[in-house]
């Protein structure tokens, strides 16, 4: 097991800066997911770790060794690609053993390794076929086999599931997690899918525009986002963002909505103390859909706030129903139990759990 340490790394393509000074320490055996919108630099960061891209500046250490100038083959890594990148003219077996045969590993050792992982990945039946004769899911397994078979210290995954259909994606997600638990090797995994990030990671690095915005375990990233970007990126449907002003007249409130239909969300004490003395500040109130529900549908608790607004759209998803409503011209989403849903147009009484609300400074985007 190796740790990975990125020390102030930069990557420029000509005049374009893609990675802008990233520091990151990944512990041995960790499963770190790099997540962010397309163009945020997550794949470039992975390529830098693998040695498929050359650093512009900074240092990369794998297992304590500085690898800036070490070619990919000598970094003791393996990688799974989005397009699987199988060698089309080679059989499945030769695809898997190519890395070993390049390294002149004896035939018997290769065969033993194939036997070990083919069983694990359920590909024993297609070993002599060409990649083109396999389905997407089978190709994916072969690509994993090719990575696993060399038993490297670090596994790198570049959006490995994004070419699979939804059902297979969930299946493979579970298998990848099982494999990690079983082998315990360090994994760096790139995806744009925040659900994949949440389900797989021991820690998530949320990236935007060449920076890491937050690096923490999934629950912290979800419950305690450092800024608007992270809060908005993680979660589906996304967090409701309500623009408003901080009011401190007889308690702390966030005042929002049109002037003739003002809503005042009362802030819990802990939050109110953090923003004391900043009356009039422009803020954004972040409410996750699951913290807005039908009034009275949950056991009563502290810091609840109720309000009544017409239902704009009803979107059943099965286990929950999404109710879209408007505050100040913006669509917001509440996640209610299906039996609580009401038809479009009727007035609906919502209840908000203000303890779980997040408050952001509207100008800086930072969490308050």
């Amino acid at each position: 097991m190796s740790d990975i340490r990125l020390d102030a790394i930069w990557k420029k393509f000509g005049a374009t800066e893609v990675i802008k000074g990233i520091d990151l320490t990944i512990d041995p055996g960790e499963f770190v997911v790099l997540v962010g919108p397309s163009g945020c630099g997550k794949s470039t960061l992975l390529n830098l770790i693998s040695g498929l891209e050359t650093l512009s500046s900074g240092n990369i250490f794998i297992g304590g060794r500085r690898v800036n100038d070490v070619p990919p083959r000598d970094r003791d890594i393996a990688m799974v690609f989005q397009s699987y990148a199988l060698y089309p003219t080679k059989s499945v077996r030769d695809n898997i053993t190519f890395g070993m045969s390049v390294r002149h590993i004896p035939r018997q050792v290769q065969d033993a390794a194939v036997a070990e992982f083919a069983g694990l990945l359920h590909i024993e039946d297609y070993l002599e076929r060409k990649p083109a004769q396999l389905s997407g899911g089978q190709q994916q397994r072969v690509a994993m086999g090719r990575a696993l078979v060399r038993k490297p210290e670090v596994f790198l995954f570049d959006e490995p599931l994004s070419n699979l259909d939804a059902k297979l994606r969930i299946e493979m997600r579970t298998e990848i997690k099982k494999l990690h638990q079983r082998l315990g090797k360090t994994v760096v995994y790139v995806t744009h899918d925040q659900i994949e990030a949440m389900t797989l990671a021991t820690r998530i690095a949320v990236m935007e525009a060449g920076h890491i915005r937050q690096f923490a375990d999934p629950f912290t990233v979800y419950d305690d986002p450092v800024d608007l970007f992270v809060a908005g990126f993680m979660g589906s449907p996304p967090m409701n963002m309500i623009e408003g002003k901080l009011r401190q007249d007889g308690g702390s409130f966030v005042e929002c909505g049109a002037p003739d239909a003002l809503l005042r969300f009362p802030l819990p004490d802990a939050m109110a103390r953090r923003v004391a003395g900043r009356d009039g500040l422009k803020v954004i109130l972040g409410l996750r859909p699951e913290t807005i529900f039908a009034a009275g549908s949950e056991l009563p608790g502290p810091d609840r706030f109720c309000f009544e607004l017409p239902v704009a759209v009803v979107e059943p998803t099965g286990p929950d129903t999404m109710i879209v409503f408007e505050i100040g011209g913006r669509d917001l989403i509440a996640r209610v139990r299906p039996q609580d849903a009401r038809p479009q147009g009727t007035r609906f009484r919502f209840e908000v759990e203000m303890r779980k609300a997040k408050l952001f400074d509207a100008t800086t985007g930072l969490r308050l």
């Binding site: 393509f13 498929l52 800036n68 070619p71 990919p72």
Partner: protein, 297 residues
């Protein structure tokens, strides 16, 4: 063709790598010399006097720039028994190439459109049968074509050559446009139909304007082919209706009198200049034509 990442792979550094890289450039440079040398020799020979040619070698540069051979090639070199230079034959080639290129390209576009976007019964078979015409060795049609031109009264004329090039260029132009139209969504044609546009309305107002790249590729390909053609020129024209390629060959192979290598080279450059100019100005379209000719179907 952006592929920064492949070269971005971290490679072992060292003197070995440098040497390899140096060797790579050396080989590439040698091949540049290989391809360019004939052109350089051709130009430099055309600028020399006959005296200089007899005394020097191929690779010696001309002592002074001397356009006499060019003038002679253009106005007074002997093509067979006539000594008017290449000028009238260049004109023949222009008169032949321009209409033949325009007509064959237009018909190819129309044909490709009708065959790919209106897949009527048998369209694929018709296309395959027409495409075959692009690959036959033209020797197999020389004799009947000569007789047909005779019957039509077009034997030995420029219009006759225009007909020949249009007929046998059609297979290629249809192929080019078919390849292009296959990548155009059928939905566009459907949508225009629903909007009430007719066959020609769709062709002229929607399809042609969006086919500009294919049109340019086809025009360039056809121009190069027709300008450079020799077989049809020599088989179907005589004397004063010869295209420039035939005239050039006659200049070079005229066995009477002193061999004027400088005039030969100047004449070769004159004959090559139009297609070379197209290549230099529109190289990427030229290359696309070449690969379109390669990936057939």
């Amino acid at each position: 063709m952006i592929r920064q990442s492949q070269g971005g792979i971290v490679r072992a550094q060292g003197i070995g790598q440098r040497l390899k890289r140096g060797f790579l450039f050396l080989v590439l440079a040698l091949f540049c010399v290989y391809y360019l040398a004939p052109l350089v020799v051709m130009v430099s020979t055309s600028l020399k006097s006959l005296e200089e040619i007899r005394q020097g070698t191929l690779i010696s540069l001309p002592q002074s720039i001397n356009f006499e051979a060019w003038a002679k090639a253009w106005t007074s070199a002997c093509v067979g028994v006539r000594c008017d230079g290449l000028a009238p034959y260049v004109w023949n080639s222009v008169l032949m190439a321009v209409p033949a290129v325009a007509i064959s390209t237009f018909l190819g576009a129309l044909n490709g459109f009708a065959l790919t976007k209106w897949r009527f019964r048998g369209a694929d078979v018709i296309f395959a049968l027409m495409l075959f015409g692009a690959f036959i060795p033209f020797q197999v049609v020389l004799l009947p074509m000569a007789r047909t031109l005779g019957v039509l009264g077009l034997a030995g004329t420029v219009p006759g050559l225009i007909l020949v090039h249009t007929v046998y260029g059609l297979a290629f132009t249809t192929l080019f446009f078919r390849n292009f139209f296959i990548g155009v969504s059928d939905g566009i044609v459907r949508a225009a139909q629903v909007d009430g546009a007719s066959f020609f309305g769709i062709f002229f107002r929607i399809i042609l304007p969006m086919s500009l790249p294919a049109i340019v590729v086809t025009l360039i390909w056809q121009f190069t082919q027709i300008w450079n053609d020799f077989l049809f020129g020599i088989a179907f024209t005589v004397g004063e209706s010869n295209p420039v390629t035939v005239a050039l060959n006659n200049v070079v192979n005229t066995s009477t009198g002193v061999k004027e290598y400088n005039v030969d080279m100047a004449a070769a450059i004159i004959a090559a200049l139009p297609t070379l100019a197209v290549y230099v100005l529109a190289g990427s379209y030229f290359v696309r034509g070449l690969s379109a000719g390669a990936v057939k179907g």
